[in-house]
Symmetry: C2
Subunit: 400 residues, 2 copies
């Protein structure tokens, strides 16, 4: 297999015999990604890039996250398309564990693909920036890509919200995820700028619920009832945009809501375990619904405190609404009061935020006992197009 | 083995049959850490806490870092001692993969010890805070714990420097490192406050140089010639404080210098690989000294550019001076210009900074071609006492 090192050596001062062939293969990969840069399913660390849906949504959640929201500086549709084409070519190579180009920055050179996925979403401002139709896309804006309403108690920092294009990089190695985002920023130099970004170090909800459920920084298991990435019927019903749902270009795509949720951990840590459990609605150690003994014990909403988090968030309390969560814990140092700047970077995929995230969050913001200990401080919404076909690119359904 | 879950379940609402025995073992562990909380050498994920030197210095470098600098709020020596005793008891448990207490915050409950180490250092302000001898320790301040001088080109942020006590938490799982620092902050509530902290996601220098050398965010291998953690003679000569080196309480300890080094990655990425290699003095892919082919090829300083980083930093150019590095890459989002706020969190241990870090850094700051692409923005110096004896505590040699 052509690896990252071979590609780079071919262009650098350390070029050795045989490098010419490697460079040739690289160029071939650039021109014919379908045949050469396509990931190899036999390699367990490679998540296939191409497919009907973007990778990084139903994909089993990787350990680490680097998320970036970009603003686009180019002004024509052709330039926007060219950007997405060059990004897609680099993504095909990097997700296959290869260097992004002969002058790759190199920090992931010795590392395997690490199940890297790159998932792209288009923000409201790409379609309508304060009334300006920058790329002639206004008529293609999906109704489901409606600006999120204000929620009770939130305190959003504009420096941690919005963005024309979001890229979610997930990998089992943080250096691989960081390398991928940095590489896209570098490719886009002068064409995009990073508006904000977020590192996540610990997944808090998995899409493989049969496996060990991870814990968030409050110490509780998070994601016990999350949508399973191999439950195709549930994905079709709640996650993937259907054919009749809006503009055709989003069919097979999904809507991403990101929320930076600060946890007041110093306050939480002063609460007794019993009160914590009543607030969440589950036991701390086992993650069992209160009154039960095991994490998978039957969930009987009426037996839980009316204002407990899992009772209010449960599909049974929300008309069956479900969302697919892929959140990560973050710690960004300390604030000016010496409190840990930490919490949950909530990432949720869904078919229509107007029917899923919005009513769910409205309810939680109003009634959830957990609200005392958290605050939403960043927010974003993006339309993630369907998967990329071999030879195609991230903008193919939207931009042609 | 008693694990984290057993301890917590004993106190929570989910307590089951058998929990009483677990709780008893916990209490025993509190009172007699030597016999019960001592780590088990047979478990590869446990790094022994006790010993002549603190763990986390010569220990093979773990993958992840959470570093915190605390300021002490108590005013008496007795209170300071009590803090360090309670911290030590929790550290003994956590490094053994156990809960820190029955009301542990819980986010590491299901995780193994992950080779967690906790390493403590005492800052200059513990001995002399603007002329104030807060704890009667002024006469015990080692001459080697001299304030670092200003270096050319640095731009230090006071919000990322200093601190009465530093704690370095290293582990292979970031959640374990984060949990450990958070737990010490929680135990110290009202007695200490976090002054600043830093997460590191990728080790950049290993103390096992025979293994694969990691890469920093500039894409170059970093630490090829680092001090090996099992090279006892070199450790004694360059890392561990000797008996005649200063006050007796530091014998077997080491001095830690931390520097937050911002990398200007956007600028670096515009430089050709050839120029990058001339700046570093090594090839990018192999990490070979320029002119050589392999990473371990003979290092001939005269063949490298006079202002290249590795030539200037090499022991042969610095009177044989060596330091033990345990640095980590960091990415803390983006700055207000959209540039990645990333770089190297440099951690170096040594016998005497006045003869090691200070002259070395003075030279690099003045002449190193790499200086164009980096800036030192945070700094700290701490005296790390020798290892803790069973039943003792981190302050035992200093405070008795």
């Amino acid at each position: 297999m052509l690896n990252r090192r071979g590609l780079l050596a071919a262009s650098g001062a350390g070029a050795l015999a045989g490098a010419a062939g490697t460079a040739g293969a690289f160029l071939l990969g650039q021109g014919e990604p379908a045949s050469t840069a396509a990931p190899k399913a036999a390699e367990p660390q490679v998540v296939p890039f191409h497919g009907p849906h973007q990778a990084g949504i139903a994909t089993p959640v990787q350990d680490r996250l680097h998320f970036a929201a970009f603003d686009v500086a180019v002004s024509t549709r052709e330039e926007l398309t060219a950007l997405l084409v060059s990004w897609t070519r680099a993504a095909e190579l990097m997700t296959a564990g290869r260097a992004s180009s002969p002058d790759d920055s190199g920090e992931a050179l010795d590392l395997p693909a690490s199940r890297l996925t790159l998932t792209v979403g288009f923000g409201t401002t790409l379609f309508d920036r304060a009334g300006e139709d920058r790329f002639g896309l206004a008529s293609l804006r999906p109704p489901a890509l409606a600006d999120l309403p204000a929620f009770e108690g939130e305190k959003l920092d504009p420096a941690r919200g919005g963005g024309d294009i979001a890229v979610q990089a997930c990998a089992d190695d943080p250096q691989v995820a960081v390398h991928a985002i940095r590489t896209l920023a570098r490719i886009g130099l002068g064409r995009v700028s990073v508006r904000w970004s977020q590192l996540g170090f610990g997944k808090t909800a998995s899409t493989t619920p049969a496996q060990l459920t991870p814990r968030n920084l409050m110490g509780f298991k998070d994601g016990t009832d999350n949508v399973s990435g191999d439950d195709l019927a549930t994905l079709d019903q709640h996650v993937w945009v259907g054919r009749g749902d809006g503009p055709a270009w989003m069919s097979g795509g999904s809507y991403l809501v990101a929320r930076r949720i600060r946890m007041h951990l110093e306050a939480w840590d002063q609460v007794s375990q019993e009160d914590q459990e009543a607030t969440i609605g589950r036991t701390k150690v086992e993650g069992a619904p209160l009154g039960g003994r095991g994490e998978r014990d039957p969930f009987v909403p009426a037996t839980l405190p009316a204002d407990s988090h899992v009772r209010l968030a449960h599909p049974s309390a929300n008309g069956g609404v479900r969302i697919l969560r892929r959140g990560y814990s973050f710690v960004d140092g300390s604030d000016s009061q010496g409190r840990i700047d930490a919490g949950l970077f909530f990432l949720a995929y869904q078919r229509d935020p107007r029917r899923q995230f919005v009513p769910l969050q409205r309810r939680l913001a109003a009634d959830d006992r957990l609200s005392t200990y958290i605050r939403h401080v960043g927010s974003g919404l993006w339309a993630c197009p369907p998967g990329v076909s071999p030879g195609g690119h991230w903008g193919e359904s939207l931009l042609g």
